[in-house]
Amino acid sequence: MKGLQTIMGLLTAIVCIVVLRVEAQSPKGKYGNVALTNATIETVTKGTIQNGTVLITDGKITAVGSNVSIPTGTEVIDCKGQFIYPGMIDAGTNLGMSEISSVARTTDFNEIGEVIPQMKALTAVNPNASAIPVTRVSGVTTALSIPTGGMLSGTAALINLHGYTPDQMFAGFEGIVLNFPNTGRRGFFDRRTDEEIKKASDKALASLNDVWEKATQYQKLDSATKGKAGYYPELQALIPVLRGEQTLLVEVNASKDIQAALKWLKEKKVKKSILTGVAEGWRVAEEIAKSGIPVITGGVLELPTRDYDRYDKAYANPGLLKKAGVKVAIKSESNNNNYRNLPYHAGFAVAYGMNKDDALKAITIIPAELLGVANKLGSIEVGKSATLFICNGDPFETKTQVSHVFIEGWSMPMVSRQTELYNEFLKREPGVKK
């Protein structure tokens, strides 16, 4: 009898554990065919559709318009009074590679070495990073995850913010990161003299040229030997860039450095490149426009780079670049796990002079085009991936609420650790007295 009790007790305990386990899990994404009806659809590329329907079938957008017939068995979400936008793309993050930015053991974006283009961000993307749900519930569905540090820091990867392996998350773009030799200061702790800065940047440029020369030689050798030129991983990784098959992401901020980078890219005949950061782009906007090289600029919520500059120059920078004829995408701040603020960076660009449509494009279709994924992402069009979000107003406005997020047809649970903490603690039980 006592034995039976023990067994029953054990069984109850096991059942309890199982139940608790299940409850402790985050809700999963949901896949299926869905019709989003009665919505204002901001297609980005093809204007605004009032009272429209977006049909999602097998992860893709299969119909967009005001007269869409809904197949039987399709789940219908009534979006009356709601807006549908393509998922926002932040082309400047380290999402998945950083858990707590100041705790080195939780970060994976900064490998040792000056020339390490072979280090692949995609390898180090943790699909369960806590920042991923925090970011995606805001409507940012896609992010460029970028390794930093050194000169050629590694290979950045575009990821969708849903999936259980890096390959499931991979969104179709990889590019080599170059931190162009820099004559700027890094912040209050950078107390180098101007001469020291100049010396360091000259040295860095010489070593960049050296690497490029070696890579060029290696590439020829590689062609001649049909890929048997020996194991030089850092040079091998540069071959696609030299052959014009892969994009070089050139991080550069000071105006002089931007000019130097444009000259360098021309000299080296780099076919595919994007300037990133570009904080002082407004100073040399005409030159950038003339080069035809596109820009991913940001964060926008920044201080001016020089004491004598107008106080709002960082806010105005994207608009000034666009006005000069530069193709501009906007990114948020790097390294701070607040990529959810991407729409506010775009919103500030608008408040300080950029056209609103241009700012919306700068976080949707333009980054999609620059990263070569515009056939799948960046707008609401038939045939594209069902990566979009539904909200109750202008997505740039601070108080706008996002109610649904779809990533490649998967409906995302609208929870993150931050919403869970809210639910637990808004009315804490017990309160002061137990």
């Binding site: 950083s98 858990e99 707590i100 930015s101 100041s102 705790v103 080195a104 900064n110 000056e114 806590s130 930093t148 540090g149 050194g150 820099n182 004559t183 700027g184 200061r185 890094r186 912040g187 702790f189 950078d190 800065i197 901020n253 002089k256 950061g277 904080a279 002082e280 919520l301 920044e302 201080l303 780079t305 020089r306 004491d307 004598y308 500059d309 107008r310 106080y311 390294n335 701070n336 796990n337 607040n338 959810r340 603020n341 500030f348 608008v350 408040a351 300080y352 202008d394 406005e397 601070t398 108080k399 650790r417 931050q418 903490l421 809210y422 603690f425 808004l426 804490r428 309160g431 002061v432």
Partner: protein
């Protein structure tokens, strides 16, 4: 002759003690006036006389010779108050000892910093210029008004504002002293101990002086006074409710610890700063009347802010804690109105509740709510005028007014607003902030004692 000299000399002393603060007269016409405490008033005028709000109403006629600002279609709100900043300071951390109440930011005010003007560009008029967070008991802070244009540090000070002091719990003091110098505190236990020890010593110190002062009154007393200690004087002033404690803190456990310390030593006025996990002990904070000054959404830059939520401000406010949103950052302080707006996304606060977080609530936390933080007759004329609603992403500060004087005018101000140009400064050198190391401005000036991943990770 001697009389004249005395007169001259005393007037110099007077001038020194009472800095000449400019005060203006102004009429702001036809704006939507957001009073904060008394609702919104459409198409309303605000008349300012001698730096104070003299009248709020419709169709006020401009007194002769008074300057007028047309605020038609604009929003007129109280100047924004940042309860946590380190601008306008030449020193932030006296990071040499876990207990340094004897130092005072009041001695290192720098009126030339361009950051002051940039803050005006974000509608800020009052700033709590704080000591850093390297020490468990840090230095005294200074509440300043952004009277940009003056060369006199005294003019920036908000005369008569209550004294405040910085405390710090958690990783910063333990990193600075325990890890950095191998002395207590290395843990949160140590932080509690050094604070309790300091207060206990201060109580003994006051007791000795009380005994001496009493004994002194007895005729024929011949004893020597106790040794004077400014450190213990300041600590005693905290215990006697003469200084408001502003306590840098993140985790719920350390906040709870400090609440108990306050109870045990009879400290009534405490504002927790940052307080990312304040939401976990919101009922306890409310019950003790402690206040909270928080970030809108910063998290994950160090371990003690890993379990944060952007809903913190809303949870605190809804639990009855007087809450403000601060910046601790020269950039973020330029859009505190936007940061306050995030409480509408994260927790659904009303316009009024959200704007209180950057006006009347920080004023309460600094003990200046009778002078600033709302638009009411008799209050100081610190005002921000916005194009578009201040909680909208498209809100743009157009004018910022301090004591009735326009200190920021978006349309008229030239690009270069420096007060002093350093002849040695290289013209072409630009500064690009490194977010990874910049997140914790509270540690500025204390890097030298840190063997920190924070500062080394990005040196390359």
């Amino acid at each position: 002759m001697k009389k004249l000299f005395v007169l001259l000399f005393s007037s110099f002393i007077l001038l020194g003690a009472m800095a000449q603060v400019d005060k203006g007269n102004l009429l702001i016409k036809n704006g939507t006036v957001i009073t904060i405490t008394k609702g919104n008033l459409e198409q309303t005028d605000v008349l300012i006389k001698d730096g104070k709000i003299a009248q709020i109403g419709k169709n006020i006629t401009a007194p002769a010779g008074i300057k007028t600002v047309d605020a038609s279609g604009h929003f007129v709100m109280p100047g924004i108050i940042d309860a946590h900043s380190h601008i306008a300071l030449d020193g932030i951390n006296e990071g040499t000892n876990p207990i340094t109440p004897e130092v005072n930011e009041s001695d290192v005010i720098n009126p030339f910093q361009i950051g002051i003007y940039r803050a005006l560009g974000g509608g800020i008029t009052t700033v709590h210029a704080m000591h850093g967070s390297a020490n468990a008991i840090g230095g005294q802070c200074e509440t300043i008004k952004l009277r940009y244009g003056t060369f006199d540090p005294e003019v920036l000070k908000m005369d008569g504002a209550p004294r405040t002091i910085k405390f710090a719990l958690g990783e910063n003091p333990t990193r600075s002293h325990g890890e950095g110098s191998g002395i207590v505190p290395r843990t949160r236990m140590g932080v509690e101990f050094v604070i309790r020890q300091a207060f206990t010593e201060a109580k003994e110190y006051s007791e000795k002086w009380n005994q001496y002062n009493k004994a002194k009154l007895v005729k024929g007393f011949r004893g020597a006074p106790p040794t004077y200690s400014y450190r213990h004087e300041v600590l005693s002033d905290i215990l006697n409710d003469k200084i408001i404690v502003h306590c840098h803190s993140y985790r719920a456990d350390e906040i709870y610890m400090m609440l108990k310390v306050c109870k045990d030593f009879g400290i009534k006025r405490i504002v927790f700063q940052h307080v990312n996990e304040g939401f976990k002990v919101a009922p306890e904070l409310a019950a003790q009347g402690a206040m909270a000054s928080v970030f809108s959404d910063w998290w994950a830059y160090k371990f003690e802010v890993y379990y944060s939520t952007a809903y913190n401000a809303a949870i605190l406010a809804k639990n009855g804690v007087v809450t403000s949103i601060n910046s601790d950052d020269g950039e973020m302080m330029r859009h505190l109105y936007h940061e306050a707006g995030k409480t509408q996304k994260y927790g659904g606060l009303s316009d009024e509740e959200a704007l209180a977080l950057i006006t009347i609530n920080p004023a309460k936390q600094l003990g200046i709510e009778n002078r600033v933080g709302s638009l009411e007759v008799g209050k100081e004329a610190d005002i921000a005028i916005f194009k578009n609603h201040p909680l909208s992403i498209y809100g743009v500060p157009m004018f910022t007014i301090v004591d009735g004087i326009i200190r920021f005018d978006r349309e008229k101000d030239p690009d270069d607003m420096r007060l002093m140009v350093d002849p040695k400064q290289a013209i072409e050198t630009a500064t690009f902030r490194d977010k990874l190391s910049d997140q914790d401005h509270c540690m500025e000036g204390a890097e030298f004692i840190l063997d920190s991943e924070l500062f080394n990770a990005n040196k390359k």
